[in-house]
């Protein structure tokens, strides 16, 4: 059991107002973690802080035994941290293929990996993307954008994938596909996953460990086996 | 009010020193001080628009020039018998046959003085209204005002027969019948300038303390936010820009009186942007900073540029870069407690063993 990502007393702030306090986390390679809590408690900020697009104002982030606290966002992406932001954030004026190609940027400077094209498994996971490869991403439906955002993150062959509400605002049928794809990403690609998810039933069946956030802090964590989703939901007032 | 408010005391001392300056410093220094104080009136206008409203104008020279030319035109006509066909010297040299129509009203001193304030003020207000109503701001507005400065100065140069061209308007000796070349007159002009600076200072202080000032800062903080609270931000900005234009005009007229010349070289692209650096150095959000910055930069320029002309341009360039990069709140920002810059500066200063101001 090796630790892939370790957060120690991580803090972050928007200007004057602090949004994260002393967050500690320990993420084991190959595991899946659900990060839950009400809207606005800092879950997205925490993911962004790990990714490096939100400033770290205190504490330490270690990824694969390397201190990445001072590393830039692209540096962390290249080290193997993949990110699917909330609201997808696909590049609206780029085509699907171009969006996926941007994901390849994370491979820059990594040894032994091919940069030549989008790996087959991405199209295998999301067959829809092949059909719409030439369309502008801004014109896609929410579900299609979400699959694209996932595919784009996977193009960089991450060892850790951070997902911010991947099923939010998506048709149930597509949610099923995404769920299925995420399970395959875990089992077939061996990617460690941290997922922020309001859809607790899924989060619970997917992750083995959970962290609960409140007001910018981790207030509780444990194994999903030990407690039911409903208990936790009641507790954190989701 | 506290008994020994340091701000109040230093204010009183500065006003007394300013009023007594003619007896304290040499005549040459007095003429420089008068000139630079005239410029500081314009600088306070930049503080109002740039610091308080977030509007950067690179064309304040235009309004400065409009004020300066309005007064200079009157000065050129003084003592001439226009009805008799007399014309300013440069028109005679360029072979103009009759005084152009728009020069005629400038025979009146009152009209000219009204023009000094109103022409730049209204022009600035009208021009900025056209921009702000279409939500042109920030970098776009700065670039357009720069184009304005360029157009204005080239127009002045090219219309030699109407404006005196490259040399501008110079060589005048009386105003309202008084000789303005004597040292006595210099003193009076200095006092007039000083009084206007003081009036402008307190007027702006009052204005910025009013609810208008709050609205102006609100538009700077979030123009759209202000809109979504039901206010139209445009008039606040237009008024600020108009006032800044009028102040620039007044400064231009007084400067013309002090230096005895107004020319395109004082109003074009380069001088216009130089005006911004005075305020950048002094402190864009603090009224006295604008005055202090103007005096400081101009005295430095006077000292350096006469001895090493090319050094000055390097110095000015470096001043721009350094002031903006490392002292965003200017010198005055260092004195303002609680400001972020002050905190940063405090940290930097505290690393040094030197004893610093305050």
């Amino acid at each position: 059991m090796t630790t892939l990502l370790k957060l120690e007393k991580v803090a972050s702030a928007y200007g004057q107002s602090k949004v994260l306090w002393d967050v500690d986390m320990d993420i084991i390679q190959g595991s899946a973690i659900a990060l839950i809590g009400r809207n606005g408690v800092g879950k997205s900020t925490l993911l962004k802080t790990i990714v490096g697009v939100q400033k770290l104002t205190g504490g330490k982030i270690t990824f694969r035994d390397q201190d990445v606290s001072a590393a830039s966002a692209h540096g962390r992406a290249r080290a193997g941290i993949g990110f699917v932001p909330q609201g997808r954030h696909v590049f609206p004026h780029l085509t699907v293929m171009e969006n996926l190609t941007v994901g390849l940027a994370a491979l820059t400077g990594r040894k032994g990996l091919t940069q030549s094209g989008i790996a087959d498994h991405i199209f295998d996971l999301f067959p829809k993307l092949t059909q719409i490869r030439a369309r502008k991403a801004g014109l896609l439906s929410g579900g299609e954008q979400q699959q694209l955002a996932l595919g784009r993150a996977l193009a960089g062959q991450p060892s850790l994938l951070l997902l911010d509400e991947p099923t939010e605002g998506i048709q149930p049928s597509v949610v099923k596909q995404i769920e299925h794809a995420l399970r395959r990403i875990r089992t077939e690609l061996g990617v460690t996953i941290v997922i922020v998810e309001q859809y607790l039933d899924f989060a619970w069946s997917f992750a083995e460990h959970y962290y609960v956030m409140q007001r910018g802090q981790i207030v509780r964590n444990g194994n999903t086996k030990d407690e039911t989703a409903a208990e936790i939901a009641h507790l954190v007032n989701i | 009010m506290k008994k020994f408010d340091p701000k109040l005391i230093s204010g009183i001392i500065i006003i007394i020193l300013g009023a007594l300056a003619p007896w304290i410093i040499s005549q040459y220094e007095l003429s420089l001080l008068g000139r630079f104080l005239a410029l500081s009136i314009l600088a306070m206008g930049i503080m109002l628009t740039w610091g308080e409203a977030g509007i950067l104008s690179l064309g304040q020279g235009v309004f400065f020039g409009l004020g300066g030319y309005a007064l200079a035109m009157h000065l050129k006509l003084e003592g001439l018998n226009v009805a008799n066909g007399d014309m300013p010297d440069f028109m005679v040299w360029s072979g103009v046959s009759a005084l152009p129509k728009f020069w005629y009203p400038f025979q009146s001193g009152i009209f000219s003085i009204a023009c000094v304030v109103l022409v730049p003020g209204l022009f600035a207000a009208g021009f900025s209204w056209l921009m702000f109503r279409r939500r042109v701001g920030g970098v776009y507005f700065a670039l357009i005002t720069q184009a304005l400065a360029l157009a204005f100065s080239t127009l002045l140069i090219s219309q030699q027969s109407l404006t005196g061209g490259f040399n501008g308007l110079t060589d005048y000796s009386t105003l309202f019948g008084y000789d303005i070349t004597t040292s006595e007159a210099a003193r009076v002009i200095y006092w007039v300038t000083f009084v206007i600076v003081v009036i402008a200072f307190f007027f702006l202080k009052w204005l910025l303390g009013s609810r208008y000032g709050v609205m102006l800062r609100a538009t700077r903080d979030g123009e759209n936010r202000v809109r979504f609270l039901g206010h139209n931000p445009v008039p606040y900005k237009v008024v600020a820009f108009g006032i800044a234009g009028a102040l620039a005009g007044i400064g231009g007229a007084l400067f013309t009186l002090h230096s005895g010349v107004v020319s395109p070289a004082l109003v074009g692209v380069v001088p216009s942007i130089e005006m911004v650096v005075w305020v950048a150095v002094g402190g864009r959000n603090i009224l006295w900073g604008a005055i202090a910055g103007t005096l400081l930069v101009n005295f430095a320029k006077d000292q350096i540029s006469s001895a090493f002309p090319s050094l000055w341009l390097y110095g000015l360039g470096a001043l721009f870069i350094l002031a903006v990069s490392f002292l965003p709140m200017g010198i005055a920002g260092l004195f303002r407690p609680g400001s972020g810059e002050e905190r940063v500066m405090r940290r930097i200063i505290s690393r040094r063993p030197l004893k610093t101001a305050e």
């Binding site: 830039s72 994901g103 940027a105 994370a106 | 970098v139 157009a151 942007i273 990069s325």
Partner: protein, 302 residues
């Protein structure tokens, strides 16, 4: 010379002026789109290109000197641009107005340096003999129309540069990253794109193109320390008219400004033309404040 020939000549003239504006404004527009900053020292990149052309011709005289000068000027200006971006602009990235002022300071320093190095009067670059011809029509409705080779040369260079940049932006990985950063900087960074490096490259590409434009300026007149200043203000107006960092917008806006200037100068002198150009821009803004090209995008939530 017939009236129509004169008009066509003037239009042609407008196109060649527009080509210069395109080259001068392209870098400004690209980095403005990407970083929302305007480099006031951009005019000095033109100047730098001019002096580099002059120096190259000292080393490589003869008909091919000018061909050698172009890559030299491009690289020289790009290098200085990279230095400027790295040292000043990057530091002020979130403060566009302050960047404006700081780069103006840089512009003053560069002008003064040129004055100290080359003198205030300026240096001459003689166009090679193969550019000394004029294309002249002796018959037909456009009889008397003369098109100087140098002006044709400008058109060709501008066309090649535009095509090259369009190719880079649309067909290369670098261009893809540029567009990605342009649309969503932090997401692009999270995908592994080094947005800082992209800024730097785009900025120096833009200053390089300005350096190239400087070589052409040198063919048209003497290179003086302030030569960039006379082109930079119209270039700023092009950026304003063109809309945010769009290649097509910049090109169209350059054509508008170039043709407007050339045609209005038939009727009025240069200084009045300058005033009228400004009036035109102000009027234009009243109708299309966002510039010639606008994209209506869905505001991304969250």
């Amino acid at each position: 010379m017939g009236e129509s020939a004169f008009l066509v000549g003037q239009i042609f003239n407008g196109f060649s002026v527009a080509s210069l504006f395109v080259l001068a404004a392209l870098g400004l527009a690209l980095s403005f789109g990407l970083m929302r900053v305007i480099n006031m020292a951009h005019g000095e990149m033109l100047m730098l290109g001019g002096y580099l052309a002059y120096m190259t011709l000292q080393v490589v005289p003869g008909p091919l000197g000018i061909i050698v000068a172009m890559p030299v000027a491009f690289l020289g200006a790009a290098l200085i641009g990279a230095l400027l971006e790295w040292s000043v602009i990057h530091r002020l990235s979130a403060r566009p107005l302050d960047t404006l002022l700081a780069t103006w300071g840089v512009s003053l320093v560069l002008q003064q340096a040129a004055r100290n190095l080359f003198g205030a009067i300026g240096v001459e670059v003689t166009a090679p003999s193969w550019l000394n011809h004029v294309v002249q029509l002796h018959t037909g409705p456009l009889e008397g129309l003369t098109l100087p080779d140098t002006r044709l040369f400008i058109l060709v260079v501008a066309g090649i540069v535009l095509a090259g940049i369009a190719l880079i932006l649309n067909k290369t990985r670098l261009g893809l990253y540029v567009r990605a950063v342009n649309q969503d900087r932090s997401t692009a960074a999270a995908m592994g794109v080094n947005a800082r490096l992209i800024d730097l490259m785009v900025f120096s590409l833009g200053t390089g193109v300005a350096g190239l434009a400087g070589v052409i300026l040198a063919l048209l007149g003497p290179v003086t320390p302030t030569v960039g200043q006379s082109y930079i203000v119209p270039a700023f107006l092009v950026v304003i008219l063109g809309g945010l960092g769009s290649l097509v917008g910049t090109t169209i806006a350059s054509l508008i400004v170039g043709l407007f200037t050339a045609l209005i100068e038939i009727f009025v002198d240069v200084s009045v033309a300058q005033v009228l150009l400004l009036v035109f821009v102000i009027v234009f803004i009243q109708f299309r404040p966002q510039g010639v090209i606008t994209v209506r995008t869905r505001a991304l939530e969250g």
